[in-house]
């Protein structure tokens, strides 16, 4: 009996902290997952177009397309995959009410995200083809660019989590939707990159 009373008061306190939700339970994570399903369909659309081109063009990539440099993309892949684990450590730290740990690991994740974007930028500037060179080049820029846009959004999400975490009590072991949403988004961007890397660079 005692414990159920405590739970009730917890629920009421939560509802006061989030007045915009009228006190009902938090469904935001469910919404985020629906959004990511929809977002993944955008990528599936691009990937499908890429695969159809690959399948129907007599020569793919079209003649005269220079070989893609693999070194930087491989480093980038390693950075992005590692960053997912780093970020998870931040979330685990928060679950133990360790805000400093959250800030440390999320800070490192943001830095790794920026490193990824810089690597991508370097690759763009040193590529031997432009957006309009041929169909493969156009696909390359649009697909990696759209993914890069997602990485940028992910970095901004992480930075906003860091910004908000400065307020004491904003995130706690029991209330951390923003942290989890940023993390699941980052994992999503990571998985998309792995598919993209295989399709565009390796195949």
């Amino acid at each position: 009996m005692q414990s159920s009373a405590v739970n009730n008061s917890q629920v009421v306190i939560d509802s006061h902290q989030a007045p915009e939700h009228h006190g009902h339970p938090d469904y935001r994570m469910f919404g985020v997952i629906l959004f990511l399903i929809a977002d993944s369909m955008t990528f599936i659309g691009f990937f499908a177009a890429f695969l159809i081109y690959r399948a129907i063009m007599p020569v793919w990539p079209p003649e005269g397309t220079p070989e893609l440099e693999l070194l930087i993309p491989i480093i980038n892949t390693a950075v992005l995959v590692t960053s997912s684990f780093v970020m998870h450590k931040g979330q685990v730290a928060l679950k133990n009410n360790d805000i400093k740990g959250l800030q440390l690991w999320f800070g490192i994740t943001a830095a790794m995200g920026l490193a990824f974007l810089m690597g991508q930028g370097y690759e763009y500037f040193h590529a031997e083809f432009g957006l309009k060179t041929n169909l493969f080049a156009s696909c390359f820029y649009v697909v990696t660019g759209f993914h890069g846009l997602h990485v940028t959004v992910g970095v901004l999400l992480i930075l906003s989590v860091l910004w908000r975490s400065r307020t004491e009590g904003h995130y706690s072991s029991s209330s951390h939707f923003g942290v989890e949403a940023a993390e699941i988004y980052w994992h999503f961007v990571d998985v998309i990159w792995l598919v993209l890397f295989v399709l565009v660079y390796l195949l």
Binding site: Y27, A38, A49, M57, L131, L135, S138, V142
Partner: protein, 554 residues
Amino acid sequence: MTNDQGQINMEHAHQERKWQDYFGFSTDHKVIGIQYLVTAFFFYLVGGALAEIMRTELSTPDPDLVQPEFYNQLMTMHGSIMLFLWIIPAGAAFANYLIPLMIGAEDMAFPRLNAVAFWMIPPGGIFFLSSFFVGTAQAGWTSYPPLSLVSGKWGEEIWILSVLLLGTSSMLGAMNFVTTIFKMRIPDMDIHSMPLFCWAMLATSALILLGTPVLAAALILLSFDLIAGTAFFNPAGGGDPIVYQHMFWFYSHPAVYIMVLPFFGVISEVLPVHARKPIFGYRAIAYSSLAISFLGLIVWAHHMFTSGTPGWLRMFFMATTMIIAVPTGIKVFSWCATLWGGKLNLNSALLFAIGFLSSFLIGGLSGVMVASVPFDIHVHDTYFIVAHFHYVLFGGAVFGLFAGVYHWFPKMSGRMINETWGRIHFILTFVGFNLTFLPMHPLGLQGMNRRVALYDPKFQAVNELITIGSYLLAVSTFPFMINIIWSVWKGQKASRNPWRALTLEWQTASPPIVENFEEEPVLWAGPYDYGIDTESLDGEETVDDMLAEVAGSK
């Protein structure tokens, strides 16, 4: 703690609806539902006006009233407006208004997101129309490249951006519907005692979430071709327009179901109430919505039988398309069986619902005809296709929409509609509709091409008939508008439950109070338990007794 709760309740009790709410960023799902509905009807009139200009032009074989280019613009905008700004938002209107009420919730899961989704529609619509100043897109609502790449750059780009905006709006709406339906039902209501409209919206939302992003991808690539000069879809630069068609139809075929499934749901609500019978085959109707939704994702290339699609692929898509007739047929038979032997009250809502059944049946059957490859090759891009999809989208979606408007008008406005004017509206619409679109079938079979202002003079007589029918359709909107405005103003006050219906939205005041229900509603019957359980054995109240009680209270 108890005091806090009490105070919160007191504050809620003092909330009153102000008319200004309807013009602002309200997060109340009922306000948003009305906003959607009124906006949609505005664009219905705009799209209808464009259609009337086209029909006037087509009353003579020569393009004499408007320039052929302008005719193409009218045709493009008529299609795009009717789909993206009329039917889809109108479906969202009912979903917004009804889902929380039907499942006993206070509001949608994400009220602010809901308001954001609505407020993308008016700017999207205005942006759409603004393209008339720079030369509107001329490539039809499908915007096939390479045509869309060579017929006016900025008009086409405005078209793309508007569709992206409206698509985003519908995705945000769908996220809300799914979350609300899954997570916010009152505890007594399991998924199989949920009204069928909610099932239909689940199926619709799944299609929106899976389909719309692919259209977005296609339109982003088309934008690159248009603005940046890439050649994804431009054969001149080594691209392939067929890839666009695949991506476009991967969304746009499901979009047909996005447009019609909500109104399947509406019909499933309207028929049992006004026929005073339980719905025939609750689970069959519910699951067939999901089946349509799934099959709808794997039929898209039936729009491309004449695009050089290889034979084996044509066979696959022909088969899947014909299979869709099975779940759709299950629905139609279940609806007919619901009417069969019912105590029909032939009011405006039921008349439109029966009108829906008969017109949608014709549209569905001609759909099976055009699913067949040999037949489709002959009627592709003729008026047979125009007739087919108008029977589905006007005869199906729009008739269902009007049935829903008449059915829920007392709930939405708190006043009864004038039945005489409603019946006049129905007769004018039904006659006008069939006069307009039925003769298009033989026209198409004889080879009259669609999307062209000029045609063979031998078709003139039938075209004149069609134009008269379309004027009748235009006239039919007047009794409707007069009726709505007069009834909102002066109509007889509606009680809580004028139709003696069992779904939860009828258990609250008409119009519902701001927080929907005074207290959490109780499920005392299944959603469609009409006409059964008339004799109570154990001395408890029967469903009919309880209905009479609720119907009496204001």
